[in-house]
Symmetry: C2
Subunit: 148 residues, 2 copies
């Protein structure tokens, strides 16, 4: 029994003539079990928690494949490190990133999405990707940093 995601990945692998390897399956399984935005370093650590099986380079290469297969999107916050989040079955959203505690809040905005469509139409621009991140202080960190 394999998940829908694993089927999608297999299909992608097969369709491009690549091979199904232990490492790729292991990295994919690990990624599917995550819920937060994971960096390659995170992935490397989790994958090799029980036994060192997969090299750093392979994690990089496999995360790229997973993104290409459509299962993940790469996002970059303010530290310049690539992170990956699930894409399948997730609504389109953006991020509020707290630069104090590192918390990441996901949000949707139909107003912004509509605005984006207008802009694309106006400039006849064919979008392939985009990123939108708002940086600042989350509710909790505001009261913390605001001294009376």
């Amino acid at each position: 029994m394999r998940s829908n995601e694993e089927q999608i990945f297999d299909e992608y692998i097969r369709s491009t003539g690549l091979r199904e390897t232990e490492q790729r399956k292991r990295v994919l399984k690990t990624f599917l079990a995550t819920t937060e935005h994971v960096s390659v370093e995170d992935m490397y650590r989790i994958v090799n928690e029980k036994s060192r099986k997969v090299g750093y380079a392979t994690v990089y290469r496999t995360m790229k494949l997973i993104a290409e297969s459509g299962l993940a999107v790469e996002v970059v916050f303010n530290d310049g490190i690539a992170r990956f989040e699930h894409r399948l079955g997730r609504k389109h959203h953006h991020h509020l990133v707290c630069t104090n505690c590192g918390k990441v809040i996901e949000f949707e905005s139909t107003a912004m999405d509509r605005g984006e469509q207008e802009v694309l139409a106006k400039y006849k621009f064919r979008q392939t990707s985009h990123h939108y991140e708002i940086f600042g202080f989350c509710r909790e960190c505001q009261s913390e940093s605001r001294d009376g």
Copy 2:
């Protein structure tokens, strides 16, 4: 006779107890003469066009100061290289980045700005900065890449 921008930079320098040096003046003057989004490498090249006077590290350090003074904003497109654009007297805007020819189109969107305000209010998030870039193919590069 010095420009408004130069006055602002001077004031920033003075207010923070820093020093007014030849290198800083030269880098600032060079930046003020640019119109496009310039990288540090661009700046280094232009500054030293006529005579090699300013080191790479100093250009980095000075661009950071210029950004801190409020005269520039740092933007990062899809190549991970920091670029700087003028801020003084410029309206708030975002970018359409053509991944084929590298063209950068600036746009404004009140719909998106309004959407952003709604989100900030909803999450009681205090914004300090944000970035929004849309990647894809510009009008010209679409017809180019689309073969019949």
